[in-house]
C-alpha cells in the first residue's frame, strides 16, 4: 500500500501552495526592506527604514494599539457570550441540538461583508440602534465609533468562537461531572475544577480563530468606523490602494501583523491540532 501512495500525490497541491502562498509571503518580506519611489511603488534600494518607522509612537499607539485592543476585546467578549451558549448547546437533548446548532452555524456561513453591512445599517444615525438608544434617553451615534466597530466584530466572529467551544464541550464525558458532584463539589467548584479545565482546548482553539483574523481586519473598522478607527488592516489598505501609496511600508506592516499573530499563537498551534482529537 505504502508503495502506491508514497506521498507522490502531495506534490501538485504543495507546488500550488508554494507558488501562490509561500512565494507571495516571501515577496512581502523582501519588499518590506525596499524604499518607496515617487509613485509609491518600489525603488530597489534596501533599507530598514520601514521597520524603524513602525517603532514610532504614532504607529504603536494608533493602528497597532487599536488592532491589538480590538482583537483582545473581541476575543474576550466572544468567549464570555459564547461559552454559556456552547455549554447549553452541548448539554441539549439530541433533537434540539441539531436545530440549535444549525441556527448558530447559519450566520457564519453567510457572507461576512453582508453581516458587517447589516450593522452598517443598524448603527447609522437613521438606524434602529440609535433610535432604540434615543428611547432610553441616550443620544449617541455609534456609527463611526470604536464601540460600533467592536459590536460589528463581535457579531462577525461570535460563531467562530462558539463552534470550537461546542465541539470540545460536546465531547466532555458527563460521568466526570457526576463523579465530582458525588465527591461533594458545589456547582461552582465543578465548573472551576472539572468543566472549565477540560474545555481549555476549545477555548484556545476558539480564541485563535477569533484573535488572528481580527488583528488583520479592515472591513469592519473601515465600514463601521467611518475613518475614525484606524487599525493595521485599514492602514495596510491605505498604503497599497489608497491615494498616497507606500508599498514598502505596507509590506512591512503586513509582515509585522503576520509575525505578531503567529507569535501570539505559536505556543498554542499544537493545541489547535491536538484539540481536534483530544476534544
Amino acid at each position: 500500500m505504502k508503495r502506491f501512495y508514497e506521498g507522490v500525490s502531495v506534490w501538485p497541491g504543495a507546488c500550488w501552495l508554494l507558488v501562490f502562498f509561500a512565494v507571495p509571503l516571501g515577496i512581502i518580506a523582501v519588499i518590506s526592506f525596499t524604499q518607496r519611489d515617487l509613485a509609491g511603488l518600489i525603488r530597489w534600494e534596501f533599507t530598514l527604514d520601514n521597520y524603524l518607522r513602525l517603532l514610532e509612537r504614532s504607529f504603536w499607539v494608533g493602528p497597532l494599539g487599536n488592532s491589538v485592543a480590538l482583537a483582545v476585546l473581541t476575543t474576550v467578549i466572544c468567549l464570555v457570550l459564547g461559552y454559556p451558549l456552547a455549554y447549553v448547546l452541548a448539554r441539549s437533548p439530541t433533537r434540539r441540538k441539531h436545530l440549535l446548532l444549525f441556527l448558530v452555524v447559519l450566520p457564519s456561513f453567510t457572507n461576512f461583508l453582508v453581516r458587517i453591512y447589516a450593522w452598517f445599517i443598524l448603527l447609522r444615525p437613521e438606524g434602529w440602534l440609535s433610535w432604540g438608544l434615543r428611547l432610553l434617553g441616550i443620544e449617541a451615534n455609534l456609527f463611526g465609533s470604536w464601540v460600533g466597530v467592536l459590536i460589528g466584530l463581535v457579531y462577525g466572529y461570535l460563531p467562530f468562537m462558539i463552534l470550537p467551544l461546542y465541539a470540545t464541550l460536546e465531547r466532555l464525558d458527563y460521568a466526570l461531572v457526576e463523579a465530582a458532584y458525588d465527591l461533594g463539589a458545589s456547582r461552582w467548584q465543578v465548573f472551576r475544577r472539572v468543566i472549565f479545565p477540560l474545555s481549555r482546548p476549545g477555548i484556545v482553539a476558539g480564541s485563535i480563530v477569533v484573535f488572528l483574523p481580527v488583528l488583520g481586519e479592515f472591513l469592519a473598522p473601515k465600514l463601521l468606523g467611518g475613518g475614525k478607527v484606524p487599525t493595521i488592516g485599514v492602514l495596510i489598505e491605505e498604503k497599497f490602494l489608497g491615494r498616497v501609496p507606500d508599498w514598502p511600508l505596507g509590506a512591512a506592516i503586513a509582515l509585522t501583523v503576520m509575525a505578531l499573530g503567529l507569535l501570539a499563537v505559536s505556543r498554542h498551534f499544537h493545541a489547535v491540532r491536538e484539540s481536534r482529537w483530544v476534544g
Partner: protein
C-alpha cells in the same frame, strides 16, 4: 443564599443564550426587511416594494459580478478539492520526502491573516508574474489566490475523515485479492466521498464570500468584481443606493441554501468539519458506524 446565586446564574445563562440568538439574527432580519422598502436610500423605510430588486437586476455590473463570483467559485472549488484531497491522501498514507515541511505549509493558510495573503498576491502578480509572462488578467489571478487558501481547508476535512477510517477495511479488500489501486477506487474513495463533498461545498462558500484576497489581488480598482467587491463598492458611494439591501439579501439566501445542502450531506454521512452530536458518551455518533460491531440481537 447559595440557592439564590445558583438560580441567578442559571437565569443569566438562559438570558445569554436567548439574547445571543436575537443578536445573531436581528441584523439579518433588518436586512431582509429593508430590501423590500421603496426608498431612494437604503437606510430608510419607505413602504413595501420590490424596487430594489428591480434596480439590481437591471444593473449590468451586478450581473457581471454574479457571473464572476460563480465562475471563480466553481473553478477554484473544483481545483482545490482535487489538490486538497490528493494532499490529504499523500500526507496521511504516504511517506513523502519533506513531509513535515509540507504539513506546516498546508496548515499555514488557515493561520495567516487573509489581508496578508491578499497583499502577498498583489505583490506577487505585479512584481513577479507580470515581469515573467505579461498580464494574465484578473480572472486567473483571483482563481489562483482562491485555490491557494482553499487547498488547506479541503485537506483538513478529508484528512480528518481519512484518519477516522477503519484501516481494517482496506486490509480486508487487499485480503480478498484487490490491488492497491482497486482498494482505492472501490473502498477508500467511496468512503471518503462525504468528506470530499463537504470540503468542496465549504470552499465554494469560502470563495463566494471572499473579500480580502479578491480585493487585493485585483488591486481593488480594476473593473473585475465579484459580488462582495460589488457590494463594497456600493457601500462606498455617498447616498447609499437601495440595491445594496437587495444584493445582501440575495447573497444571504444563497448562503442559506448552500449551508442547508452541506448540513444535509453531513446528516447522512457525518463529516468531521461540523461537530456532530454524539449519541452516548464519547462514543461518537453515526460516524462510529464504520466497521461497526454491535450486538443487537
Amino acid at each position: 443564599m447559595k440557592r439564590a446565586v445558583e438560580y441567578g446564574v442559571t437565569l443569566l445563562v438562559a438570558l445569554d443564550v436567548c439574547l445571543t440568538y436575537v443578536f445573531l439574527y436581528l441584523p439579518i432580519v433588518v436586512l431582509i426587511v429593508y430590501s423590500v422598502s421603496a426608498s431612494r436610500y437604503a437606510l430608510v423605510w419607505g413602504g413595501f416594494s420590490v424596487e430594489p430588486y428591480e434596480k439590481l437586476l437591471r444593473d449590468p455590473e451586478a450581473l457581471r459580478a454574479l457571473g464572476n463570483s460563480l465562475i471563480v467559485g466553481v473553478v477554484s472549488a473544483g481545483l482545490s478539492t482535487l489538490l486538497g484531497t490528493l494532499m490529504a491522501l499523500g500526507l496521511e498514507r504516504g511517506r513523502a520526502w519533506g513531509q513535515r515541511a509540507i504539513e506546516v505549509l498546508a496548515y499555514l493558510p488557515i493561520v495567516v491573516p487573509e489581508i496578508v495573503m491578499g497583499v502577498g498576491l498583489l505583490l506577487f502578480f505585479v512584481q513577479v508574474w507580470r515581469r515573467l509572462g505579461g498580464d494574465v488578467g484578473p480572472l486567473p489571478t483571483v482563481i489562483a489566490g482562491h485555490v491557494a487558501f482553499s487547498i488547506s481547508y479541503v485537506m483538513v476535512v478529508v484528512r480528518a475523515r481519512l484518519r477516522d477510517l477503519d484501516k481494517s477495511l482496506e486490509e480486508a479488500a487487499l485480503d480478498l485479492g484487490a490491488t492497491p489501486a482497486q482498494v482505492w477506487r472501490r473502498v477508500t474513495i467511496p468512503l471518503l466521498m462525504p468528506a470530499i463533498v463537504s470540503g468542496a461545498l465549504l470552499v465554494f462558500t469560502l470563495s463566494l464570500d471572499d473579500f480580502y484576497v479578491t480585493y487585493f489581488s485585483t488591486t481593488g480598482g480594476s473593473g473585475f468584481k465579484t459580488l462582495p467587491l460589488y457590494l463594497y463598492a456600493l457601500a462606498g458611494r455617498a447616498g447609499v443606493p437601495p440595491q445594496m439591501n437587495a444584493v445582501a439579501t440575495l447573497m444571504l439566501l444563497a448562503s442559506l441554501t448552500l449551508v442547508a445542502l452541506a448540513l444535509i450531506v453531513q446528516r447522512r454521512h457525518p463529516s468531521p468539519l461540523l461537530p456532530s452530536p454524539s449519541e452516548g458518551r464519547g462514543a461518537g455518533g453515526e460516524g462510529e458506524k464504520i466497521g461497526y460491531r454491535g450486538d443487537r440481537i
